[in-house]
Symmetry: C2
Subunit: 129 residues, 2 copies
């Protein structure tokens, strides 16, 4: 046999048409069953940048790094203008809206409290015998 | 004169040591005064991927595209594991926390309302003569 392994090459090596060795930095995170995951990160970041990032982070953090890169790449392919920064804007607006709503609700609560006067504590803190 | 322009080359052409022509796709978004902006997107996405994305989007959207790419690149350089996906996680947790807080405050409001009984409407809807 000319090959020294029996498993399929990882999705990255298959995509890049290169030999997948036992120390392949991509193999643990790009299984052959998920070819799109690698194709996406390659299209947006380029294989060599992904490899550089993987070598920069500790081995136990590489899976998280790959997953965040895959998320960013997918978002950028769906939305070439904003990518996942679009999601950040949506979430920031949602936070602002919720904060305002909470402020309004707290103001209503204060108004109730002043109407109830002495009864406030028992109503707010739960019913007392 | 061997050069047909008098302005400085844009930050991208300066970085890539190439001639900056009048139709340079980078020039409007990477002024020479901001060298880090291009260096960052180049380090994370690669110049050719950035150029590809710019050609994919309409000219009026290119500034937004560059700014979101610059934001993502800076976030990835600061946090190689999570990049700007880290900000998304923080915001998602903040949204959940605010939603729970709002639910609790609304429940308190309902409890007050049931204590006030008939007075509810006037207290909640503003004071009536």
């Amino acid at each position: 046999m000319s090959s020294n392994y029996t498993n399929s090459p990882c999705a990255a090596c298959k995509f890049l048409r290169r030999r997948c060795t036992s120390d392949c930095v991509f193999a643990p995170y790009f299984p052959p069953e998920e070819p799109t995951k690698f194709a996406n990160v390659h299209r947006i970041f380029g294989a060599s940048n992904v490899s550089k990032i993987l070598h920069e982070v500790a081995p136990h953090q590489r899976e998280d790094a790959v997953n965040s890169l895959a998320y960013e790449a997918e978002a950028r392919l769906k939305d070439p203008v904003y990518g996942c920064v679009g999601a950040i804007s949506v979430l920031q607006r949602q936070v602002l809206r919720l904060q305002r709503e909470l402020e309004d609700t707290n103001a209503d609560l204060m108004r109730y409290a002043s109407c109830l006067g002495g009864e406030t504590t028992s109503a707010y803190g739960g019913r007392r015998g």
